[in-house]
Amino acid sequence: MSVRKLSASALKDWVAALVARQPVYAPQAKQDRFDYDLLKRAEDLRLDYDVTILPPKRFLQPPRETILQFRKGSFEPVVEAEPFVLFGVHPYDVVAIGQMDRVFSSDNPDVHYMARRQKATIVASDVQRPSPDVFAGCMGTATVSEGFDVLLTLVNDDYIVDARTEKGEALLKLARGLQEADAVSLGRREQIWKDATRFLRRHDLRCRPQELPDLLDGAWEHPVWKKRAERCYSCGSCVLVCPTCFCFDVRDEVEYDLESGRRVRVWDSCQLPDFAVVAGNHNFRKQRHERYRHRYYRKAKYLWDRYHFIACVGCGRCASACTTKIANPVEVFNTLLEDRP
């Protein structure tokens, strides 16, 4: 599949054609920030966004989704999935989606996630403007080479359009004015990719991400957990905005007839006080610092041990979202590095 080029105005026409055909979720301005939303007009697309308030995971694992229905004591399967396009996804979020794919496709595959994932076409976009807390450059996620269908890179005033899958090619059939990408533009794109690692580094993790599991191995009793957790409200904001958090709760909702209804799964957070409470009210992570510590161990050790990825892509959303400014993973890990025996 060849790499092509579109002018900014041709890109807009292409987006308009996509919007007319199927739901397109894309970053748009929300007051002074950005967030994904259903794109109604091509001109609302903001590929110059720095970061979205919420990651695009909600289109694959919605905050609330029906997983089955029941009627008079019988259960009926429900799989909700319609074709859609996720447009303008930054590389770190593409990596995060790849991690969710691993989790939900391995061992016991999750049909609800997988059905949505298969219906999704992902148009990635290289970052044009770094967000205040981004550190993707430290996490190896400033650029991405897989896990998307099309990659867009702004080079001068044109977009390099790089389709990597049949789904991506199918999407490009709606584009007019595609040209072969010239060597100069491709060279410029190489430079953008090289620069991204430096450019997306507002915080500087002082080790390679692969060293984090070992770092945490000896850090269970480190004072950083209690010290920072003293200021934790257990609000769960850090989890809510995290592109790699996928824990969920399951609840039943009943209709007024008290016989029919649905089972829904909703986002949950290990930072909320009742996350590990069992019937009888025993709480296996009662203290704030236990829950706070759990989050970093899960990100940088537990999921590494199970799936071999570091579940932090350096988007910086948690650092920005935290009211008391204790959620920046780089600060936590750098503190541990300084005190490493």
Partner: protein
């Protein structure tokens, strides 16, 4: 994306089942027998659990108490502690419920126990899942060495499976001992926590596999005693409880450090969790 599984079985969809027996056995616990509408056997091993659903109420992990030798239905003993278990107690026999499973690891009734001595140490409703293993062993009594069962409850009123306790205490081919934390006027047996029974049993530490199941507080003390009795950690198995929402390694609730209780447990070899900070 290369992976795929949008077709295939829905891991969250329960199988239809019917409650064939539901009767109180203590002030807090009901004995519940369940049959799949398909007539299939659960096909579990002792120590495994199911996710039990009541439409409109929700779903919760429940230990299986019958042995796999029982065909056509399976048994549970459920303490009324939460929303689902309270609703479950109220369901009349014949009610339709949903069941997923069996899930999780099981007691090593085959490889880790056959030809060896077995010591069961149970506290409170910890006896419920262990009963499955006890039945399994007693149904094949000759294939095991010495069999010892220790059972502790808070009070005489909380003792479960009274007919079976009587039978075990009368059998000559096993040692059965029990205790209560606090007795009453009619209680003539041992009084004291479960660890007070342990010095009374003589075991061959190198030939004994120990199964421990009880409330969270019990493990620490029992493990210390077993250490004093020179039982190697490799031969101790514990069954642990955690909050669970999926049972299949996705929801994140049941983590004990990096372990998933639903996949890596609920039965753990103690040697594998001795250094895991959140385990015991």
């Amino acid at each position: 994306m290369s992976c795929c599984g949008a077709s295939g079985r829905d891991i969250y969809l329960p199988e239809q089942a019917t409650i064939v027996r539901n009767r109180p056995v203590t002030a807090l616990e009901n004995f519940i027998e369940v049959r799949f509408d398909s007539g299939r056997d659960l096909g579990h091993m002792p120590g495994q659990f199911v996710m039990l659903s009541i439409p409109g109420i929700g779903e919760a992990p429940i230990s299986v108490s019958s042995s796999p030798d029982r065909k056509g239905s399976f048994e549970m003993v459920v303490r009324r502690v939460g929303r689902l278990t309270s609703a479950l107690h109220r369901l009349p026999e014949g009610s339709r419920i949903g069941v997923r499973g069996p899930y999780g690891t099981h007691f090593p009734v085959e490889d880790g126990m056959k030809g060896r001595d077995v010591l069961f140490i149970t506290g409170g409703i910890g006896l419920v899942p262990v009963r499955s293993a006890i039945h399994y062993v007693l149904n094949r009594r000759r294939e095991y060495g010495q069999v010892t069962i220790l059972y502790g409850t808070k009070s005489p009123a909380e003792r479960l499976f009274l007919d079976e306790l009587r039978e075990w205490s009368q059998r000559k081919d096993i040692t059965y001992m029990e205790t209560v934390d606090r007795g009453d006027e009619s209680w003539k047996g041992n009084v004291g926590v479960i660890t007070t029974l342990m010095p009374k049993v003589s075991i061959r530490p190198d030939r004994t596999t120990v199964i421990v199941c009880g409330p969270p507080v019990m493990y620490k003390f029992v493990i210390v005693k077993l250490y004093e009795m020179n039982v190697p950690q490799e031969n101790i198995y514990v069954s642990l409880e955690r909050r669970m929402k999926c049972g299949v390694g996705k929801c994140g609730h049941c983590q004990i450090n990096g372990l998933y209780t639903c996949l890596d447990g609920p039965v753990f070899r103690f040697a594998d969790v001795a250094e895991v900070q959140e385990a015991i």
